[in-house]
Symmetry: D4
Subunit: 228 residues, 8 copies
Amino acid sequence: MPGFLELGFAKVDVGRLERRGFPEVALGEGKSPDDLAQILKALVEKNGVALATRAGSHHFDKVTEVLPDARFELAARCIVIERKPLPRLAGKVAVVSAGTTDWPVVEEVRVTLELFGNSVDIIQDVGVAGIERTLAARDRIESCSVAIVVAGMDGALPSVIAGLVSTPVIAVPTSVGYGASFGGIAALLSMLNSCASGVTVVNIDNGFGAAYAASLINREIAVSTPSP
Amino acid sequence: MPGFLELGFAKVDVGRLERRGFPEVALGEGKSPDDLAQILKALVEKNGVALATRAGSHHFDKVTEVLPDARFELAARCIVIERKPLPRLAGKVAVVSAGTTDWPVVEEVRVTLELFGNSVDIIQDVGVAGIERTLAARDRIESCSVAIVVAGMDGALPSVIAGLVSTPVIAVPTSVGYGASFGGIAALLSMLNSCASGVTVVNIDNGFGAAYAASLINREIAVSTPSP
Amino acid sequence: MPGFLELGFAKVDVGRLERRGFPEVALGEGKSPDDLAQILKALVEKNGVALATRAGSHHFDKVTEVLPDARFELAARCIVIERKPLPRLAGKVAVVSAGTTDWPVVEEVRVTLELFGNSVDIIQDVGVAGIERTLAARDRIESCSVAIVVAGMDGALPSVIAGLVSTPVIAVPTSVGYGASFGGIAALLSMLNSCASGVTVVNIDNGFGAAYAASLINREIAVSTPSP
Amino acid sequence: MPGFLELGFAKVDVGRLERRGFPEVALGEGKSPDDLAQILKALVEKNGVALATRAGSHHFDKVTEVLPDARFELAARCIVIERKPLPRLAGKVAVVSAGTTDWPVVEEVRVTLELFGNSVDIIQDVGVAGIERTLAARDRIESCSVAIVVAGMDGALPSVIAGLVSTPVIAVPTSVGYGASFGGIAALLSMLNSCASGVTVVNIDNGFGAAYAASLINREIAVSTPSP
Amino acid sequence: MPGFLELGFAKVDVGRLERRGFPEVALGEGKSPDDLAQILKALVEKNGVALATRAGSHHFDKVTEVLPDARFELAARCIVIERKPLPRLAGKVAVVSAGTTDWPVVEEVRVTLELFGNSVDIIQDVGVAGIERTLAARDRIESCSVAIVVAGMDGALPSVIAGLVSTPVIAVPTSVGYGASFGGIAALLSMLNSCASGVTVVNIDNGFGAAYAASLINREIAVSTPSP
Amino acid sequence: MPGFLELGFAKVDVGRLERRGFPEVALGEGKSPDDLAQILKALVEKNGVALATRAGSHHFDKVTEVLPDARFELAARCIVIERKPLPRLAGKVAVVSAGTTDWPVVEEVRVTLELFGNSVDIIQDVGVAGIERTLAARDRIESCSVAIVVAGMDGALPSVIAGLVSTPVIAVPTSVGYGASFGGIAALLSMLNSCASGVTVVNIDNGFGAAYAASLINREIAVSTPSP
Amino acid sequence: MPGFLELGFAKVDVGRLERRGFPEVALGEGKSPDDLAQILKALVEKNGVALATRAGSHHFDKVTEVLPDARFELAARCIVIERKPLPRLAGKVAVVSAGTTDWPVVEEVRVTLELFGNSVDIIQDVGVAGIERTLAARDRIESCSVAIVVAGMDGALPSVIAGLVSTPVIAVPTSVGYGASFGGIAALLSMLNSCASGVTVVNIDNGFGAAYAASLINREIAVSTPSP
Amino acid sequence: MPGFLELGFAKVDVGRLERRGFPEVALGEGKSPDDLAQILKALVEKNGVALATRAGSHHFDKVTEVLPDARFELAARCIVIERKPLPRLAGKVAVVSAGTTDWPVVEEVRVTLELFGNSVDIIQDVGVAGIERTLAARDRIESCSVAIVVAGMDGALPSVIAGLVSTPVIAVPTSVGYGASFGGIAALLSMLNSCASGVTVVNIDNGFGAAYAASLINREIAVSTPSP
């Protein structure tokens, strides 16, 4: 038995849940609604859950014909089907944003984390221009097993937060900004050069990727913790 | 009591070990040997260990005058003083490289990981142009709690490895290559756009940063695991 | 007799089929429908076939008035007229894609290859995040005389495939991706820096160019092979 | 009478002190020692003071032949001649750095500020990875009339400081860092996109330019303040 | 009492007016109209004034429901509410533009400056291709306490103006231009490399930021000037 | 008497015709139709002719109300008013394009050249992929006093042409192309690095600028040539 | 039996000759002389031949101790050991350069091609600024089965040559040039955007890669050609 | 008889003087001294003059063995042999620089212009930060038939000069500057986007290219001017 399902136009990686602990997820953008629906159908039948990111309403209209129990998370641009929830994980993941405009990326993070069995603590709009807001978030972040920090413009927030806590920090640059923010490049470079050691970074606006990485870490902790 | 030690030309962050679980580390490059020696002295007196990265022999000559127990890790370009070792961590960290030329970065990763109490499993030269080498490394990586994957040129290795295992993968692009590798940009971009979900990335040649992040994750697991 | 046909606004290179073995092809984008129709008319009358790439329906509406036997390959964005097919070539060309979203580029490759007399074997969605899919494609690729490998995002697929086979590999980066993929630059750089020796590369999304190069190679083989 | 002095190979802008309130300053880099010496001689004879930035010891050796009262500020790479000091200004300028490695730029700032009549308060190594250091500097900065904030790597410091004080902040990105810091571009972009309103920015490593701008502002205040 | 107001989706920095002398301002772009209205309401209730930049008519329609005294500055893309004007400042700010096409940025500068209590002198279209226009503006600029110079394309204007006057110059690159102006990068780089010492620069099209910085400087002068 | 006309929102450089030999020309893009109309009116009243480049039909609709004798050159995107033609120049200018898609830029060149009194010889679609077309154009180009060579994609045409003739060559890169043409950057760089000595270059798609430069050269020749 | 040989610091891909038709080749740059010598020894013992590219004399001094029959190709920077020559291939490969300065890259191409069993025809200095030189090379190129075209600066040569012949063209951009050639980027982009269809491209200065690709193609032809 | 001379390693374009009016010139950089000497010998024997740019003393030492009448222009980095001077041209060329540091480029311009028969008027250090210097140069520039304007940093000088005169202006960006000047990119972009119409641009530091273009223009004028 091969580790993938042949659909002709696609080869669905149905072995991924077993190999990696979390299932394959479909990128909606650039796929035809028909193709996306077929792929999600194959995934949910194999894994009990399915997720499409960067999906539009034209995708959802077709998916819902084939999978009536799909739901559309509008702000997150995600289509979710959850028939047999994935195992709940012990640790909590903090999701911290620098500004209200980063909200769609925060939503993509939240939807992915929740589908993957994580508890989530969302702390929004704690940008360093009003540093009291940042400092006030410290204890909530410290109590989590991973923190995802979302910021555009100068991308300075992860440097400050990572300096405050012992929690591993995954930074997500966003395309929020204009001019010399270059669609998120300024934030991305700032994060890659963080003066606070140990910050790791994902692609611009890639809330999903950060959530996937956080889930891998969170699950690793769960796996290591013997149930009493 | 302030969380830092005032040296005039520097403010040593002696509170970092307590806040973050691992101590401040000094970047040698660009510092005068005298300044570096004073900073390392302050750090080792407070923390029991001290580390300088990107250090040269001109740095080491001066440091060893002040701290005779310092040792120079030549390939890693690190100065290490270890008087009171940091606590040993339970999990193991895999360090995987794409080619033999990535070796100096691998060394910086190893020195940092070991000083920070991690067990390390080094697997070198498993580039995807001879994919059997990559596949043969799978089980060793899967048995670790974190994997650091080091690659220059096309930066393709993290994508393949992350697709094979449930271990969180931290990718380190290196400046190995020429022409349109642009000093590691090609590898960096490739890793940020990995088709394997959940890869996180650090700065080009930043072996230290990857090791710091892996240590944070590994310690999180240790912290979560009740000792019997 | 000059090697080109003067249309005033254009000089059609009607000598190209003789010089290069394959005819001039028109880029639709940026041409007025009228001009494109006139150019295709000149080409088909001289060569028996004609092809426009990156064409829209506004182009096709006008072309079909002048050349009623034109057909529109929608996904490939190509207009094709084939009155006197070009000679069939002996070798087969593999067309391999990393993901379903690369499909429009795959289509441009296919349409061009078929018009130019090649047999084509299309193998879609074999991205390296599920490496079993990639490995399973090996024998089909090895049996072809050239392989065109199409990938966006991290552009890692050509490195893995070129390491597996003795077939010459032409890599096509696509603009699939977002953020730091920079419209295909990440994939392009990855391919130019492939750790697998001998990969050659064409412009982002340039399926046509890859197919033209593959046809030149395939024809070279055909020319060298004495018919029994 | 023209506003400049014709030296043949140069036209010294001796009218600048009158027009702008501060004299022309020579960039040493790229000038021959002979030319630099002649230019400085013309400037000091007209203005009573002269300054060359980015100068080397080969410059100083020649300058000191012509102007024996010249002094070489090694760390700042500046040659200074001060026969008739410029008027002292009332306000104080804060010079704040993120790390010890930014020291040469801080020195160029200090030398320029002092020559131009400013009082200077230097606060070094207050990077945001140990935020207590940054917060502890607040009152000293607030008491100054302008603040120059010098930082490399992620360039995050100006965002935090500008959020804390009512003092105008001029940010100087430095080339401190490696890999994706791209010789200071990461810090520059971060500063241009500061989430704290009103940060203005100068060129990478341009300590002199920041000091010139700060002097213009400080003098504007002095000019506006009636002496009792 | 915390320095910020918790709205759940946002943490309004109501302490900023006290800390920095000028209130927090909301970036409209990327915010939902509802969120923007709530934020402006909180700001005006605390500070007596409120400003949103980069706002659209969809924002204004909602804001005006909640805050009927809001006004929309169309060209500046600003929403302004001014119930209790901020203190008038003594100094005047010159706003100088290189061409008529820079007008929207000039407007954003003007609206911000006036709300923040500055007197404003606007001098438009004095680009250096007709240098007489530039020279004619000299005296008006010299009489101001700060000058904001707005230019796209070659960004040459700040270099010429800063060479003429003793007024501090803040340069605003605009995205006016095409081709190799790269959306304002050419002007930005030109300004960062100004041959006239002491020019400071803000982000491309960031009229608001320049006005905020100018206000900080202008207020510093006012603060330093004892009222008779 | 000043050399410019004050319109409040603009300062029209009515002295330019006298200073430079050719009048000021207005850039339509980014100007309001009203402003453009006023500027053109001022220019035509002073100079007898007026030109706006990069203009749209919304501009023309307004301009034609104020200046009924204006004409719209659609492909060139130019508005032209010509009441008192400028003096005819003796020399001829060759305008050579690499492909039919470069046509709009060629049109902008032609309209400007003709308004400025030049004779024009247009030679289209002589791209080097069919080198016979290029070689066939040699004599016509050689007989002109200046050549403007317009090309996108690889920008190779100016190198070949400049190698063939003694005519000065001004190269205009166009944004024709896709992917790694980066909106004309590939062609621009190619032209700046031309292996044929003496090629000069203007901005991407800047047909107007090339025509202005060619007119200056052509007029220089005319001026030097004594009429019999 | 695995397809690779474990050396600890390296995993030599000794199965590559069988899989790909040509052996693994070592990149000298960045490897220690000891490591390189061990790797070459393993390769020559397995394959009968071995090649290191981008090697220096410090490499060769060590290699020759271990492998006394090694030879150093100075201009090509290659170390070659050839005990049991690879099979001779039927087709010939043309190597064409734009200028004499491209010579080191031409040498790397030649050394690789000859070791891999190809006949080689080298045609140097046929840059398009003297197009007669280019045209004169046509017949020699047409008679080869593949052409490698090497050019720096404007990278225009492959476009002209590919337009002249039916031979597949592999373009090698070189770092020859200065200023806006950006170390070969101008030539690389020009080649990726070639107006002549079917040009494929390798990395800047990657003569080896082009030769490897050409060998794969040439061998494909040989394989397809029945020996009489 | 072919238009080039075959040297084996080079094909000297001895027909260029006849085709273009000025001879082929050799780029020294990257050529071996032997090769350069052979090429210069061939050129001087054919043309009576020869020029190598970007040459070093190692080149000159070898050239002078073969051609004892060669002279080395050190600052310009040029080797010149002038046995039979080229015809003197009627017009004069102005060479204008923004700062003393641009001097080596000015020298390359001067050496080329003089060898090619032009009269030269050099006006140095007229940067716009002291605009009186620029304005004072106007009449000298206006009296020339072409102006070459050399500037680094902000590259603003050509915009001001081109606005003042009717002389055609060729702009040469130099690599003078640091940080965000990016080796001359800032100046290059500024010049390409000049607000003064009709400025044409050559590669960074390409004094030779500007001089070649100016000579073509100057000769065009001479050719058109009947001698009395």
